[in-house]
Symmetry: C2
C-alpha cells in the first residue's frame, strides 16, 4: 500500500463517556509518530461541525491538555446526534456527503477517525464507502465508544467499564447507607441507571455484590426482560424479610409485557403534548410504596454516571487510549473501513490482558449486541457468574485525576479554529 | 474533678454521612489512651438499640476495622431516628429514660458519646440533665454530624464538607457532559440534592464554578427562598441564550411563596393515601420542558451523595475524627453536657487551620442554623463570594480509600454482642 500523506481529522459523536477523550488522546499521540500525517485537526460537535467546516487545530493545544484528555470526561471536541440518513432522507444525505467531501478536500483530510456508538460506526462506514466510490484517497477507521456496551464483535466498548465501576461503587455505598438505617419495618431504595434497550449498565452493578448474596443489589431489572409487577413485589418482600432492606437497580428502559415503558405515564401530557416521563425508578417507588407500604427512596444517576471520571476505570481508560492509537496505526498501514475492537486474552491463571484488532465496519453498523440469555439467572433478577466473570476485569484500576482545591482538575481545549476555505453550508 | 473510672458507650444517630464513622474511630482511638476508660462499647442503631440493650464489644473488632472506619461511609454501628419526646409523649419519654439509665448502670457506662444532628444533640442534652438529676456519675458529650450543616455554633458539621465535595464534582462532570452536547436549541439539566429546610448542600455546589461565571451551576435554588416560576424561567432562558445550556441545582425542599413544597403533588395519592412526591427536579423539568420546550434531563443524587466516601473530603474526615477524639478528652477531663464544635482559624495569608472546642448542649439542641442572608446574591440564584470563602476549605484533600477489584474496600464490623444483663424492654 502506497504511503498516503495528508491531514488527520478526529471527531466524537453520540452520548459522552468518562473516557471518550482518552481515545482522542490516543489518536493524537499516535499521529505524532507518523511523518505522513501532517496537520492534526479536530471536528467540533462531530459530523455536524464538520459539515459546518468547524475544525480546530490540535497543534495549538498545550501538551498538558492532550495529557489531560486521558482523564477528562465528556466530549472535549463536542459531540452531536446528527445522522446521515440515506433511508429516510436520501436527498439530504446525498447533499451532506457532497459537503463532507468538499470539507475533506478543502483541508486535504486523508485520515478520518470517528469515535462513537452504533450510529457513528454507520456514519464512518458510509463515509468510507463514499470515499471509495468517489476515488478520494482517505482512510476511515471507527473508534468504539458507548457506555451502553452494545457494539458487536468488540469484547467491550470503552466507556462501559467506567460507568459500571462508578455505578457499582454507588450501589455499594447506597447499600451501606440504607442497611445502616434498616428498621424492622424495612426499607427499599431504587437506583435508576441508563440503558434504554440493552441492560449492560444495570447488569454491571452486580459487581457490587462481590460474590455475597446478602450484598446489594438484590434485584436488577433489565430492559431486555418484560417487567412483571407481581413477581417483582414478591422478590422485594422476600429480600426485606431476609435483610430488612432491599436495593433495586433498574435500567431506565424497562417495559411491561406489552412493550410499554414502565417510566412513561401516557395519561399525563405537558402543554406541548409530550407524555410526562416519571422515570422507571419513580414509577417503581409508587408501586412498592403504594402496594407494600414500604418506605422507598430513589436515586436517578442520569448524566452523572457516564461523566464520573473522578472514579473511572484505569482498564477502560487504557483500552480507550489504545483504541485511538490502533486506529491511527491501522490507517497509516493502509486500512480503511474498519472499527477497532477490544480483544481480551485470559491466561490459564485467569489473568486478563487486552489488545486491539480490526473488524469491518460493515459488520458493526446498526447491529445491537445484547446480554447473552445464559448470563442471566433463571428468575431474571440477577446476572449470573458468567456475567460477573466478563465484567469484573473491566473495572480494575483507578485513573489518576489531579485535583485543585479539592475538585477534579479537568482540561478544557483552546479550540483554535482552522481557517475556513468554503462558503457556508447551504 | 475526680477521675471517673468505667465503661464507654458510643452510638450514632440520624441520617448517615461519609465520615460519621471517622468520628467513632476518633472516640475509640482516644479512649484507648485513657486508663480510666475500661470497656469500649458501641450502641447498635443509636438510642433505640441502647434501649434494647443491644451493645457490641469494640474490643472484639480488628485493628484494621477501626482504621477502616476512617473511610467507610454510613453508620457502621447502625443508626435510628428515634426521639425521646418529653413534650408530646412525656410518659413514654420518662419510661425511656428509666430504661436508658438501667442499661447504663447495668453496664457501668460512665462515658457516653452520641454522634448526630439536632435531634441527637437534644437527646444527649436530656441524658446529661437526667444523669445530673439522678446523681448518676456519667460524662455525656455530643459529637456533631450532619450533611445538612445546620447545627449552630460549630464552624461546620462533619459530613457536610464531603457531601458538597462530591456534589460539586458531580455538577462539574455533568456540566462537561451537557455542554459537550450543547446545540443551538440549548438544553437544561436539573440536579436535585438533599436539604429539606436549609440550603447549605445546594449552595455548596457553587464551588463547581471555580470563580468562572460561565461554569455550572448556573442557578441554585435554595429551600430558604420562595420559588418563583417566572423569574426562574427567565433566568434559564438568559443562561441558555448565553451558554447554550443551563445546569440547575435544586435543594429537595424548595417551596412556593405559599410554603407548599414544589416537589409534592397533592392531587395524586397512593393507595395508602400518601401524596405522590415527584420530587423538586422532576417538577422543575415539567415546568422547563412544558413551558419553554427546552430539552431537560434530571439527576437525583439521593442517598448516593451522603454515602460517596470514594470521593470524600480529607479535611472533613480529619475534622470528624478530631471531633471524636476531642469528645473523649473533654469527658476524661471532667466535662459533660457539651457538644464538640469545629473551629476555623484563618491566617493572614488565608491558610485555614482547624481545631475543636466545646459548646454547652443547651445552646445547640433544636436550633437550626441557616445560610446568612448576605451570603446569597441579590437575585437569590447563587451564593456569593462570602459563601465561597466559607465553603472552599471544607472540600480540600481526598481521603485515601483502598480498593479491591476496582471497587472501594469498605469495612463491616463484627458486632460481637455484649451479654445482656436486663430483662427485655417492656
Amino acid at each position: 500500500m502506497a504511503e498516503l500523506t495528508g491531514n488527520l481529522l478526529v471527531a466524537q459523536s453520540g452520548g459522552p463517556t468518562a473516557v471518550i477523550n482518552a481515545s482522542v488522546a490516543g489518536v493524537i499521540t499516535e499521529a505524532g509518530k507518523h511523518e505522513c500525517i501532517e496537520e492534526i485537526y479536530g471536528g467540533q460537535n462531530g459530523i455536524l461541525g464538520i459539515l459546518n467546516e468547524q475544525l480546530i487545530d490540535i497543534n495549538d493545544e498545550k501538551r498538558s491538555t492532550i495529557e489531560g484528555l486521558k482523564y477528562t470526561p465528556a466530549a472535549a471536541l463536542g459531540t452531536c446526534r446528527y445522522k446521515i440518513d440515506f433511508k429516510k432522507k436520501p436527498e439530504k444525505a446525498a447533499q451532506d456527503m457532497d459537503r463532507l467531501f468538499a470539507v475533506f478536500a478543502a483541508h486535504n483530510i486523508r485520515y478520518f477517525f470517528y469515535a462513537g456508538g452504533n450510529d457513528s460506526q454507520d456514519t464512518s462506514h458510509k463515509i468510507h464507502e463514499e470515499a471509495v466510490k468517489r476515488g478520494y484517497d482517505m482512510r476511515v477507521i471507527g473508534v468504539p465508544k458507548t457506555i451502553d456496551n452494545d457494539l458487536p464483535h468488540t469484547d467491550n466498548c470503552p466507556g462501559y467499564g467506567s460507568v459500571i465501576k462508578f455505578n457499582a461503587a454507588t450501589v455499594m455505598e447506597v447499600g451501606f447507607d440504607v442497611s445502616s438505617m434498616a428498621t424492622d419495618d424495612g426499607s427499599c431504595c431504587i437506583i435508576e441507571v441508563m440503558g434504554r434497550s440493552a441492560g449492560w449498565i444495570a447488569a454491571g452493578t452486580v459487581l457490587a455484590k462481590r460474590g455475597v448474596d446478602a450484598n446489594p443489589p438484590h434485584i436488577i431489572l433489565l430492559p431486555e426482560l418484560p417487567f412483571d409487577e407481581a413477581s417483582f413485589l414478591a422478590k422485594v418482600k422476600e429480600t426485606v424479610a431476609a435483610y430488612k432492606y432491599c436495593i433495586v437497580v433498574v435500567g431506565e428502559g424497562i417495559k411491561d409485557k406489552n412493550g410499554n415503558e414502565v417510566g412513561a405515564d401516557k395519561t399525563r401530557l405537558d402543554s406541548f403534548g409530550h407524555p410526562v416521563l416519571a422515570g422507571a425508578a419513580e414509577k417503581l417507588k409508587e408501586i412498592v410504596q403504594g402496594k407494600m407500604n414500604l418506605k422507598t427512596r430513589t436515586v436517578l444517576l442520569g448524566y452523572s454516571q457516564r461523566a464520573a471520571a473522578h472514579f473511572a476505570s484505569a482498564t477502560d481508560a487504557k483500552n480507550a487510549f489504545a483504541a485511538g492509537e490502533a486506529a491511527v496505526r491501522a490507517a497509516v498501514d493502509g486500512k480503511s473501513g474498519y472499527m477497532v475492537k477490544i480483544v481480551r486474552t485470559t491466561a490459564t491463571n485467569g489473568a486478563v490482558t487486552w489488545s486491539t484488532d480490526l473488524q469491518p465496519l460493515a459488520d458493526i453498523a446498526n447491529v445491537e449486541h445484547f446480554i447473552p440469555k445464559d448470563w442471566i439467572s433463571a428468575d431474571g433478577f440477577l446476572p449470573n457468574e458468567k456475567f460477573v466473570e466478563y465484567a469484573k476485569p473491566l473495572v480494575e484500576g483507578e485513573t489518576k485525576v489531579p485535583t485543585e482545591g479539592g475538585l477534579p482538575k479537568y482540561i478544557v481545549m483552546e479550540k483554535v479554529a482552522v481557517e475556513k476555505k468554503l462558503a457556508p453550508r447551504a
